[in-house]
Amino acid sequence: MAVGTLDTFPKLLMHHAHARGARPAIREKDLGIWQTWTWKRFADEVRALACGLAAEGFKRGEHLAIVGDNRPRIYAAVCAAQCLGGIPVPLYQDAQASEVVFPIQNAEIRFAIVEDQEQVDKLLEILPQCPTLRRIFYDDSRGLRHYTQPQLSSYEKLLQKVDGAFIDAEIDKGSGSDTAAMFFTSGTTGVPKGVVLTHHALIDRARAVAEMEKLTDRDVVLAFMPPAWIGQNIFSYAQPLVAGYCICCPESAETVVTDMREIAPSYYFAPPRVFEALLTQVSVRMEDAGAFKRWLYRTFMGVAKRVGTRILEGKEVPLLDRVLYNLGDLSVYGPLRNVLGMSKVRIAYTGGEAIGPDLFTFYRSLGINLKQLYGSTETSVFVCVQPDGQVKSDTVGPAVPGVELKFTPARELLIRSPGLFKEYYKNPQATAEAKDAEGWFHTGDAGYIDPDGHVKIIDRAKDVGQLADGTLFAPKYLENKLKFFPYIKEAVAFGDRRERVCVFLNIDMDAVSNWAEKRNLAYSGYTDLAQQDAVYQLVGECVEQVNADLARDSELANSQVHRFLILHKELDADDEELTRTRKVRRRFIGEKYGSLVEALYNNQQAVHVEAKVRYEDGRTGMFSADLKIRDAKTFAPAAAKHAA
């Protein structure tokens, strides 16, 4: 059976179990060492699990909810459901109970496979609202011994004697056009929508990029993002089943950094905020290093900034710089890549959100082959990918083979690709809005094609606005430039249909507290530190540097930041200010903190704020504080050349 005709994931799995049975499919750090699941063992587990599900009455076309962290058994559950022609529905393991209700009701889910007691309690809590939920299977039985609910049963009980003929028949029934999985987009607006994706869509896109990047079964990926995110699913489920490479699951959230260094993946994908957090961690730790190391780091990072990317792309570089860079590679970049576990990275992608150009070049100058990609859940991720050799910091690259692009007059990007989703589940109205008659999908992102044929994304179409004087206002681009500074963790820019741009800022607790300690600045907690004048001054300098940069770019000159305030609390997904993938929900924040936005615009020096805050253990309480507002120095476009 040539690889080509394998049009469903179970068929691919059986092929790998046959072709490379002894090769590692999944490694999991458990009980202190990396436990290995070979392809054969993984296939046997899937077949046994599928038999179990069938015995429990799981029908073809039915949905299976899967809630849990990256664990071999969670991926086995996905494939087992697909063997029976069922549709796995991965849900975010850190989602609130209320956020899980809609998907289960919407897909009338009867069966769920979850990881541990925390997820079981979540499902039990919403049982009354989801009458359809009949059976819940848990993997880690810790603490569940005395639970008596009838719906509950352990994963082990599901593992049945393998009825080979039955399973092979079921797998053969499957075809490319069947639905492979359904992902609920948290979306920055409104009710979540169930994106239905067929085997063909996912496999086609996965294979197109696998061939483009020449992925082999020798590659290794570390799976540390939530499985419910399409990005993680493509990299640790779809593509491994296409290319046959091995995915590794870290032991726990705290040990991801050490596990990353132990595994040293060759193929890496993460949203921009992971790269931001990594950069902040590097700069904070380098801050504590001795004088010599700091000097060494600064000088060689300077060299890297100057020539790093050119050397990575093999372009011409003066001999002295090349020698200096090699010296730097031996003493700084090499060890830095090694400590971050990135020394074996052949291909690293960033996507899901726009990434700040300075952050992007930082990693490339270190010799890490970081590239941008663009896509969304509805397009099976791969729409545009920067191939090796054509990497630019402010574009998302040309279209992937098989994808057609076009732009509406309002600059909205439309695409047509075999990877398009079939529909929004039980939401024909939304499907019609998103996919027009000729099959063009409205991405909702604004952008244009640059001379090299690369797509340049400006921002979400809805958010791209114009200042009162009509010039372009791209909040995401501005926010990314602000977030490059280690002290700023999150930024929300306002300016649509207004004369000036103002900004909410969130400080990065680690970086700023470390900075404060160095100047022995006393503070009691996050809010107290955020409101200190010294911190406003520090953040103000960062804003002014961004303004200086913006002034040099004619198009964006007058979207410089005029006034800013530092929020009293960190924006949090639990308070719905961020999506589950930590993207800013600008509209929701604008409404929730409307009084603050007004205060920014009518020149108040401070504003009193009360907000409902949800504590860790679910209790909510009232919170009040006076937030200072500061003006930031802006630069005339021409004069900016020699400032800063």
């Binding site: 009980l31 202190g32 810790r142 603490g143 011994r145 726990s252 705290e254 040990t255």
Partner: protein, 253 residues
């Protein structure tokens, strides 16, 4: 009835730490010992595991009776304990501390260990696996290889509990496991103590000051005051027992 203390009296020179104390502990029970400072709680625990030898009375554990048991004999019988102020081995890492807890279960002699390959290596790996299960159980994977001295107080308490569990005891004596902990650490420790009782079926004798904790997690409570037992029963009874309230509020004797 797994353990019964019969008329035990203990004194150091003139100081009478325990006077004629008797109580029993049922199998798989969480038994709390409470009382104001200096009531003799720690001394009672030290008698139970053979660190102090009582002048009068005897202890019946399972079916064996003894008065002057030595502490490492108690360990061999399956009695493990933690200390009020942490007694960890500062020169070793977390993993080594927990592995030391398993010494009673290891059979290889020092020659086999010197050769390492063969039985000694197999045994070491098997016991490492058991230690890892305890590390996983107590959620301290991220500090597995750190020297114990560098850990914060809460984690050190957890490691000490881990070392006691490593011996797979039938009776676990906890000497104020939650002293000096913040609310969140206390909740974690309560969860661990209940999980130990539930998952491993270990009988637990617990000394604790925090009434909230005692009332929540203990099946029965003994109250000591000035070395004498003044009350014994279910938490509810103890809560409104006049003698106990007086002892704590310090009514004149």
């Amino acid at each position: 009835m797994i353990l019964s203390v019969e008329n035990v009296s203990l004194s150091f020179g003139g100081v009478r730490a325990l006077q004629d104390v008797s109580f029993d502990v049922k199998e798989h029970e969480v038994r709390a010992i409470i009382g104001p400072n200096g009531a003799g709680k720690s001394s009672m625990l030290n008698v139970l595991n053979g660190v102090y030898h009582p002048q009068k009375g005897k202890i019946r554990f399972r079916d064996k009776e003894f008065t002057d048991m030595d502490s490492h004999e108690a360990a061999a019988l399956g009695i493990a304990r933690t200390f009020q102020n942490i007694a960890l081995f500062k020169g070793m890492t977390v993993l080594d501390n927990i592995m030391t807890g398993r010494n009673l279960k290891m059979r290889c002699n020092f020659l086999q260990q010197a050769v390492w390959f063969g039985p000694a290596k197999r045994e070491e790996m098997a016991h490492r696996r058991a230690a890892e299960e305890i590390i996983d159980f107590l959620e301290i994977q991220h500090v597995r290889k750190t020297p114990v001295g560098r850990l914060p107080y809460g984690l050190q308490k957890r490691v000490e509990l881990g070392r006691a569990l490593a011996a797979e005891p039938t009776l676990l004596l906890l000497d104020e496991p939650m002293a000096g902990m913040n609310l969140e650490e206390k909740q974690d420790m309560c969860r661990f103590v209940l999980d130990v009782n539930d998952h491993y079926g270990t009988t637990i004798v617990l000394i604790e000051h925090d009434m909230g904790v005692v009332m929540d997690i203990s099946d029965r409570v003994v109250v000591l005051d000035y070395g004498r037992k003044i009350a014994d029963g279910v938490p509810e009874e103890i809560k409104n027992n006049k003698a106990v309230i007086d002892a704590y509020l310090g009514v004149a004797h």
